[in-house]
Each structure stands twice: as C-alpha cells, then as structure tokens.
Amino acid sequence: MHLAERLYRTSRTGFLAAQVYLSYKVPRMVDRARRADYKRRNLSPVHERNAGKIYRTAIELRGLMIKLAQVIGTRSDVFPPEYIRILSQCHDAVPPRSFAEIAPVVEQDLGAPIDRLFDNFEPRPIAAASLAQVHRARLRDSDTVVAVKVQYPDIADVVRTDIANMTKICSIYERLDPQPMALLPLLEELQKHLTMELDFKREVQSAERIAELFSDDPAVTVPRVYHELSSRRVITMEFVSGIKPTDKAAITAAGLNPAAVVQELMRVYVTMILARGFFQADPHPGNIFVNPHRRGDGKVIPRFVLMDFGLSKELPKGFGYALFNLMFAIMTQNDASAVKAFRELGFETRNGDPSTLLLIAHALNRRAPGQRFEGEFNSEITEELFKTIRENPVIRVPSDFVLVGRAFELLSGIAHTLGARANVLTAMAPPANDPTEAA
C-alpha cells in the first residue's frame, strides 16, 4: 500500500472517530453546564447520523472498515439498535474489485496463467464480500463448474494498517473518556477473527471438519474443495446451487414443509453448537442453500448446503453443555441454575452480584411469547437480551456467547421469513410422545 493511501486512510478514520466522539461529548458537556440530565436526552438521531457516517466511510475505504462496520452491526450487546440496523446492511453492500486486480492473485498463488488453470473463468464476480470475492469458472478440460473465492490483493496490508489506526484511536478515546465503552477488546476480537478469515487454508480445514461432523447425516453437505487449485488466498470449490432458505414459495414447490425445514436447520446448528462445539458462525441466508433429498426409505427431507467457513469457531470445552443448562434454567424459571450457568459460560458482574444475571434471564422470559422463554432467539428476544446487558453492569460477556446468540438470531430471522419458529430446545428435546425418552 502506498504511503499516501496509508496517510489518507489514517486521517479519514481519525476524522470520523473524532466526529463520532464529539457528537456525544459536546452535548454531554452542554448538559453538564446547564445542569440538565444527559441520560434523558434523545440520542436516537445522533446514533442514526453516526451510524450513517460510519457506513459511508466503510463503503468508501472498504477493507477493515467494512469488516468493522459488519462487526458493530452484530454487537447488539454493545451498540444501540440504530447502529445495528444501519451497519448490518454492510453485508450486502460491498462493491466488487475488477478482474485485473483479482487475476494476479490467482496466478501468483497457483503458479500459472489463469487460462491454464481454468476454462472460462468469468471476469464478473458472482459475489463480493469484505475480504474476497467469488467467480464462477470451469475446471480445465472438464464440465465441472467451480466457484473460485479470491482474496483481495492488498487486503492483509489494509487490515494491518486499519487495525493499527483503530487501536490508536481507541486508546486515545479510552484515555479521554472517564467512562469509555470497552472498544479495545472488540478490536482484539476482530483482529483474531480477521487473522482466521484471511487464512483460506484454515477455512478449507473448517469446511472439511464440518463435512466430517455430518458425514453420517444426510441433512448437510459441504461443497467439495479442489486442493490443487487452492492456496492461502484462493479457494476453488464445487459450484453448488439450491433454494435460498428464505424462499418460501420455492421450498414449498420443492415438496418441503417450511416449518420442518426451519426445525431441521435448527437441529443442524444445535448439533454444531451445543453438541459438537464447532460451528459455521455465519448462518446468513446467503451462506445456506436447501434442497429436497430423498432418503433410502423414500421420505423427502431437507438437505442443507453450508457455505463460507471463514468464520468458523471452536467453542471452549463445556460451552455447549453450559449454554444448554442456561437456556433450560431460563425456560424452567430456575434462577439458581441460571446464575450458575451464566458463570460457567464466563459472564462476570461487578462485585460478583448475581442480580444482574437474573435480570438478563428474566428479560428473556418477559419478551418471549406467553412470557416464557422456550429456546427461541427471535429478534425481539435477542434485542431485549443485549439491551439488558448494555444497561447493566455486566463487565464480561463472553464473545462466544455473542457469536452464538447472533447465529441463533439469524436462524430465527430465516424462520420468521418462512412463517415458522426456530426453537433451540425443541431441536434437541426427546420427542413428545416417545415413551422411551420422555421423563
């Protein structure tokens, strides 16, 4: 990256940070001078304006800024809903790079001109994201159509520069503000995730690990990876197609019951998260296809194609069991068990006070249908959960919990579009009238 570009990125980011900071700081100082209560001020328009500025800067600078905006868009435990609503749109708004920028990455990494590696490598990408874009191509001398995911050429450098800039900005902010938001841990987490996502070999390993987890389960397939045409910055994989999991009409037309599709998708994620401790952490509708699959006994079941394993996550030992215990305790309104499970998951409160944790548990019950949480993380419940966390002195929310909560929320969003419910506990409960399992 040229020095001039590096300086431009630094100044642009710094200017944005200063604008956002002052938009909160100045009214606070004014209120203090007037002896007015800052907490009573309606900050919604300020949040909205700032989120818009971050969004526009992210789209212009791309690279880490897009990623950062996407992360903010998922952290409802830290940021107000205005930020979440606006910045979550970054998922669908990434402008693609030109073929001239992309082709050299493929050729450098795979060691040959692109037309000797593939037949008909389409110059126009079929998808573009913050770190890479995907092109359709055909294997040489074959009818096999593949999807080639190519990392942006300068992205590793951009990420390093942006992380350094953001770390400096956050450090200054934390020194200036008497009650700063904990942004540095967010950045550390982002850096950790980005390092993982920029290593495509790791992504391939994650894809194959998920494929192995479901090797005896017909409900899941993972596109085959062509190792000889893959590298640290390029992944060549089988081109897959299917029905978008939010396309109710197509699902029904394929002979599948949308409610059964939702419950089966939930079972797949519950299997990964609660039972296996390793999961594809981005169940965005764009990362999943569903197809009808006829089993040996003739029954047609939904089969999911999972894609994009850049954000796959190994959960700590015991996490799944503790999360299950937490949901179960909240569902059965057992406060003592809920507090125990929160602590096992790594939640910490000031002075070890459990009442905050109970507030979270009670908030989940309050917003659930019938005022009883039953294992469903719809957007209302998740919003209430993270609002309660934001407003109360929880000093540590484990990032794995946030990632899992977001995954369940995304699944609930798919369910909502299909007019069904995605219930975590039902996905794993013994069948209601099976006498060998009910207690």
Partner: protein, 364 residues
C-alpha cells in the same frame, strides 16, 4: 379444605408446600423439598398427596375398573448392574457412569415439557362426567407440579439439579463428556414417532394418553435406577460422599411417588370411562389405555435394553483405552457381571384384568 372427602383442589393448593424446618441443600445447591420433624418432605405435596388419595378412593368406590398397576417383575434390573458399575469405577473407567448419570439428569429435566403438553378438553371426548377427578386437574396443577419437580423452579433445583449434585458429590465433580448432548440428539433422530394405535380417536387425545402412559412406564421402570444409584453412589468403595449421595437419590425416589400415583389414577379414570371417537362411535377407555400401555412396555422392555447394552459397551470401549491392559477382556469381565434377566414372554404383556383379584388392580 382439609377434609378427606374433598375432590376439587385449586391450582395453588396442588402446588403448595408443607411447612419445612430446614431446606434441602445438596452439594451447595438449594434443592426443592426439605425437612420437618418427620424427616424429608417432598415438594408440593401438602395438598397433592391427599388429593391423589381422595381421587383414588373415589375411583375404587365408583368403578369396577381397578387402578392400573405395572407388575414389578416386568421391570428389568438396571444395566449396568451395581457390580458392573463398580468394576468400571474401580478401574478408573468413570466416563460411562458419569455419562449415564448426566443423561438421567438431562432426561429428568426434559420431563418439565409435560407442562407444555396440549391437553384437549377431555370432557368433550369422554361420555361420562370427569368432574371432581384427577383427570379434571391435569392442567389445574398436576402437570405443573410434575414439571417443577423435574426441572426445578425459582431458587430451587429439581430432579435435574439433584441428579447432577448426586453425581458431583459422589464422583467429585467429574468432567461431563463433551458429546453428551450429541448422544441424546442422536437417539432422537434415530427414532420415529410410533404409528397411531387409535386412529378413530381425535389425535390430541391419543397423543395425551400416549404421553401419560409413556411417562408412567418410565416412572415405574425408574425404580430400578433408584435402587441402583442409591446402592452404587452409597458405596464407600467407589463414592466420595456415600451417605449424602445415596440420601439424595432416596429423596428423588420419594418425590417421584406422587407422579406414579397421579398418572395411574388419571389413566385409570380414563380406563373406567368411554371415549368418544371423531366419527361419534365409542371406544372403551380400558381398551385404549391397555393398548397404549402394552406398546410402551414392549418398547421399553425389548428395544431400550438392547440399545442400552450396545451404548454402554461402545462407551466402555472408548473410555477404557489406556486405562486397562486389554479392553476386550475388560468388556468380557463387564458382561459377566450383568444381572441375568429374561424379558417376560409376550403373553405376559396381555392385560390380565381378571387375574388382578388379589391386589384389586388392573395389571400387566
């Protein structure tokens, strides 16, 4: 409301506790129930127990159909036996036992789903009156009390937490196997919902009765689990806290007694009545209950034992690696310690209502 003749109880009454002197705390966990001058008192039994007794008395006085009874000799001995479990624990192969105790806790917890069971308006599907019966109180406190007993409520742990506490105090907080939830889910996906037995009956009615029958069978079969756990976790050779762990299991056992009693009472009440099918025809309640009970028992006696044996062997083979010199020889020694038991002949599963004479009960 204290008089014995009372047959109608409020929701609050069926959930109310006797006055306790000391709460039950196990392994640092506040559990339900507690102690008074007479000893341990199960939760929510102040009115529930006398209510069930009153409904049973009324049923026997007004109906020729005796109370349902599942004969003790239909209940297979626990697998693994105490001797088998001790062999494992003494050899340091703890995981199969930890897994089993954890699974029991989880399945107990899921018992709380009984409160979510859709209960159709039974009076519309039964020819005779159901007023002032246990059946009329299923959603009026009986299911809710059962659910709270299993999964806990408020600050009090239920059977789920009590089984976990018993495991933790007896085996000193063992690591829970990471794949425990996978095993439970795996079993679920392998099973299909059994076909309908009573197709002319409204489906919600059959589903309710099938569920209740299934839970009754499990509760009765769990007796061998209680005997096993009390003996095993109470054995100082393998338990780090024998007295406390075995007492805790005995408390769970006594808490389960009202569950068995209300289920057999309400199912007997159905058996004594006439069910109305969707086409307006009639089905003798006794036939319906017998058919569902027979299927449940067959499934539990045959299939479940076979599955359990396969699971535990597989679990031992994995857990014993590196802990015993010869895994297959160890499995053979394990097998040799199984309590011999033959499933009863199929004929034994036919209703023997006529032979119920000496106990005055319908039996299997």
């Amino acid at each position: 409301m204290a008089q014995e003749s009372a047959l109608n109880f409020t929701y609050e009454q069926l959930l109310s506790n006797v006055k306790l002197d000391t709460p039950l705390i196990a392994g640092g966990v506040r559990c339900h129930g507690g102690f008074d001058a007479t000893g341990y008192r199960s939760p929510r039994t102040m009115w529930r127990v006398p209510a069930i007794e009153a409904w049973q008395k009324q049923h026997l006085a007004t109906s020729p159909v005796p109370l349902i009874e599942i004969a003790a000799d239909l209940v297979p001995p626990h697998l693994p036996s105490v001797a088998q479990a001790k062999l494992l624990l003494k050899a340091g192969v703890r995981e199969p036992i930890v897994r089993m105790l954890t699974e029991i806790a989880i399945v107990e917890g899921f018992g709380a789903t009984i409160r979510d069971l859709p209960v159709p308006p039974m009076a519309s599907f039964i020819r005779e009156s159901t007023a002032a019966t246990g059946l009329a109180h299923l959603t009026g406190g009986l299911f809710e009390a059962h659910a709270r007993d299993e999964a806990g409520w408020g600050d009090e742990g239920g059977h789920k937490q009590m089984w976990e506490a018993a495991r933790d105090i007896a085996l000193s907080n063992p690591d829970v196997p990471g794949d425990i939830l996978m095993m439970i889910m795996g079993r679920r996906s392998a099973q299909n919902r059994p076909p309908r037995l009573l197709p002319t009956l409204a489906e919600p009615v059959e589903r309710l009765l099938a569920f209740m029958v299934g839970v009754l069978a499990i509760e009765v079969f769990a007796r061998s689990t209680f005997v096993w756990a009390e003996e095993l976790l109470g054995d100082p050779e393998v338990s780090d806290s024998p007295a406390e762990a075995s007492r805790l299991i005995s408390y769970i056992r006594s808490d389960e007694s009202p569950h068995v009693e209300y289920l057999r009472t309400t199912l007997s009440e159905v058996a004594a009545r006439t069910l109305i099918a969707e086409d307006g025809s009639e089905i003798a309640g006794r036939e319906a209950v017998n058919a569902l009970l027979e299927r449940s028992l067959k499934m539990m006696i045959r299939q479940r034992i076979r599955e359990r044996r396969d699971q535990i062997r597989s679990s031992i083979r994995t857990a014993a690696q590196g802990k015993v010199a010869d895994v297959e020889e160890f499995v053979a020694r394990f097998d040799a310690l199984e309590t011999p038991w033959e499933p009863p002949a199929f004929a034994r599963l036919e209703p023997v209502s006529g032979a119920a004479g000496n106990s005055g009960q319908v039996g299997y």
